[in-house]
């Protein structure tokens, strides 16, 4: 089954007429993603890569009832409206590629989506791929291959790096989810890992974190409480990075020492999750874990 997206995902591309939107629509179509419509206000009636464009999602849905998923390329200052439109149309999940969205906007639409039980992936994310069925995002398809490793990451290119190594090791991915690098994001590590735990096609999980925030620590907390249902291997980028911008005293009070690479590695280790020192080691560790399972 994989998670979040599969061959049943019928996609509307919001911001399909923009440079990124039209370019990646083409790449997604080439991959086999079922894109049925595009939306750009004011551009309704035209076609992009053979895909009909509408002014609003509601109009697109009237013509294509099967639409259930959205990918958003709309520029930051209009992205919030686009997300609310997708939520209102009950599209789930919503993959939000746009970067530089004001954090207040993200808090609002993510809060609203969570209340309605709608999953937002992003903002500022590379999207989701379930090889070889569908790709809803901007990830380079060639590094992914169907397999049994569930990947979840806050990073872009680093994810491709590790995905390529996993593919080269003959493992491949069930689904790879880029949850995004912003301070406020929709789905977090715990939520995605829970889905992988329940997914029959996923045998092991790779988590790629980086410094800042406490999503990795929260994942460690969750695993400590519930135990590791499937092997998890992590990589944390930023061991040698200088401490980031501090938000006055409040930043220190609210983070309470979390956020550094040491804190994340320590918490993950305490939860029994090995943290690779080099990206290249991730695939090896996963492989050895899977072999142990077989025995």
């Amino acid at each position: 089954m994989a998670i979040l997206v599969n061959e049943e995902s019928k996609v509307v591309v919001q911001g399909i007429t923009g440079r990124e939107g039209s370019f990646h629509t083409k790449l997604m179509l080439e991959y086999g993603t079922k894109i049925v419509a595009g939306v750009t206000p004011g551009k309704g009636g035209i076609k992009i890569n053979g895909i009909p464009v509408y002014d609003t999602i509601l109009e697109a849905k009237e013509e294509h009832q099967e639409i259930n998923t959205s990918i958003i390329f709309v520029p930051a200052r209009f992205a919030s409206d686009a997300v609310f439109e997708a939520i209102k149309a009950d599209l789930n999940p919503i993959v939000l590629i746009t970067e530089r969205i004001p954090v207040r906007d993200s808090m609002k639409f993510i809060g609203y989506a969570r209340e309605k039980g709608i999953r937002i992936i992003g903002p500022n994310c590379p999207g989701v791929i379930t090889p070889p069925k569908t790709k809803i995002g901007v990830l380079p398809a060639h590094v992914f291959k169907k397999g049994s490793i569930g990947m979840v990451s806050r990073s872009g290119t680093l994810t491709y790096e590790i995905a390529a190594a996993i593919t080269n090791a003959g493992l491949g991915q069930s689904t790879c989810v880029g949850i995004g690098g912003d301070p406020i994001i929709g789905m977090d590590f715990v939520e995605v890992v829970k889905m992988f735990e329940e997914d029959e096609e996923t045998d092991a999980i790779v988590v790629i974190g980086e410094i800042g925030g406490n999503l990795e620590e929260k994942l460690a907390e969750y695993i400590k409480e519930t135990g590791q249902k499937k092997p998890i291997v992590a990589y944390i980028a930023g061991r040698t990075a200088p401490p980031g911008k501090r938000m006055g005293h409040a930043g220190a009070i609210i983070s309470m020492g979390m956020g550094t690479a040491e804190s994340k590695i320590k918490s993950l280790n305490e939860a029994g999750i090995p943290v690779a020192e080099l990206p290249s080691q991730v695939a090896e560790i996963v492989k050895s874990k899977l072999e142990k399972l077989k025995k």
Partner: protein, 385 residues
């Protein structure tokens, strides 16, 4: 974007949050003039974009205009972290009866705003948070619902404030939230928020951080840089739109994407080297941009070697190779460079490197290990450097 204290206080005052009377001064002579005008004991505060100025000696007190001038001339010679004191805020000294703490910021995990409040404000607030977290009252605010009176009553009750103090505290806390919304703040903070001799609340300090991504909504708040915060190389890199941070080591790092750039730095350290910087060329860099990035690295006196690690996606390896070759030719600087590139147009990129006599390695690990070795080799060759 951090605002300085005096900028934050201008906004505070405009929105109705009481602050001490004060003036911004650019020289000890100006300080003297303003103290005469205030005709009261004063506090002179260096205007720097850092917290804990008091601990660093950036805040001084004076009773008379002459003393203020003398103290100020010391302040203007001061350098805290990288920052030179170029302006000071001269304020009447508040008769502080009690120091409170109040801020509103973003709780990333809860995806909400959060109030942090305490009756034990002052310079040890972070320690207090560690030792006695129960003494800091936290209240989350959902931006969809916004702040409600009950949130504020809860805070003042938890802090044990009553009467006028509680009323004033709630009013200021409400205004903090209004400010947060109006200016897209990541932080609004006052430490201390003081209770003065007359029992009135007054924001003795003020800090605001504005969300950079929101600046399109605030055309009046011009994006400004604290140039002292940046080295000349960092400024150049910023003008070119790179994400660039200088570090203590000797190996320049060029990669695409923050995660991969950090991972490249970490790998260098793991193989026994030290990164000189972090340079993320972002996605889809043209050969021109790559050339600028390589130029920056080669010309940097601290950089003894460069690691280039590219995971091609929207970034094309041939563009990277072309930019690299041009930079090497143009600068004529011969410092060791190791290249690893993979993904879009990998073969074309490698071909360009081969033709120009630049070697490359197949994996990130090999490239990181190699550059560490090469740079260490240079060190042995020039023990005096």
């Amino acid at each position: 974007m951090k605002l300085l204290e005096h900028e934050s206080k201008e906004i505070f005052k405009r929105e109705g949050i009481p602050c001490p009377k004060g003036f911004l001064a650019f020289s000890p002579l100006e300080v003297k003039k303003y103290v005469k005008k205030l005709n009261k004991p004063v506090v002179i505060k260096s205007q720097l974009p850092i917290a804990s100025r008091m601990k660093a000696g950036g805040i001084k007190f004076a009773e008379t205009a002459e003393e203020a001038e003398k103290v100020a001339s010391e302040l203007f010679k001061l350098k805290i972290n990288k920052f030179k004191v170029s302006k000071v805020l001269v304020e009447e000294k508040v008769d502080i009866k009690k120091e409170l703490y109040l801020s509103i910021t973003i709780d990333r995990y809860e995806r909400k705003y959060v109030y942090l409040a305490s009756t034990q404000g002052g310079i040890d607030i972070e320690n207090l948070a560690k030792m006695h977290p129960e003494k800091i009252c936290k209240v989350h605010v959902d931006p969809q619902i916004e702040v409600k009176p009950f949130d504020l009553i809860y805070i003042t009750n938890k802090l044990g404030l009553t009467g006028t103090e509680a009323r004033q505290f709630r009013e200021i806390a409400g205004l903090f939230y209004d400010l947060t919304v109006k200016y897209d703040c990541e932080l609004v903070e006052s430490n201390p928020l003081a209770i003065n001799g007359k029992g009135n609340l007054i924001a003795v300090d003020a800090r605001m951080i504005i969300d950079d991504n929101s600046l399109f909504r605030h055309p009046k708040l011009k994006k400004k840089l604290f140039e002292e915060e940046l080295t000349s190389f960092e400024l150049k890199a910023m003008e070119s739109g790179f994400s660039f941070v200088e570090l203590d080591g000797e190996i320049g790092v060029i990669a695409n994407g923050a995660g991969l750039t950090m991972a490249s730095m970490d790998s260098i350290s793991l193989f026994g080297g030290k990164p000189a910087n972090f340079l993320d060329i972002g996605g889809g860099a043209t050969s021109e941009r790559v050339k600028t990035a390589v130029n920056l690295q080669l010309k940097h006196p601290k950089v003894k070697g460069v690691l280039i690690n590219i995971m091609g996606g929207i970034t094309r390896c041939d563009e990277v190779a072309r930019g690299l070759v041009e930079a090497v030719k143009e600068t004529g600087i011969k410092k060791p460079i190791t290249v690893r590139m993979m993904g879009t147009r990998e073969e074309e990129g490698k071909e360009i490197l081969r033709k120009n006599g630049i070697s490359y390695l197949e994996t990130m690990d090999e490239a990181a290990e190699e550059i560490v070795k090469l740079v260490k080799g240079i060190k042995i060759g020039n023990p005096c450097k």
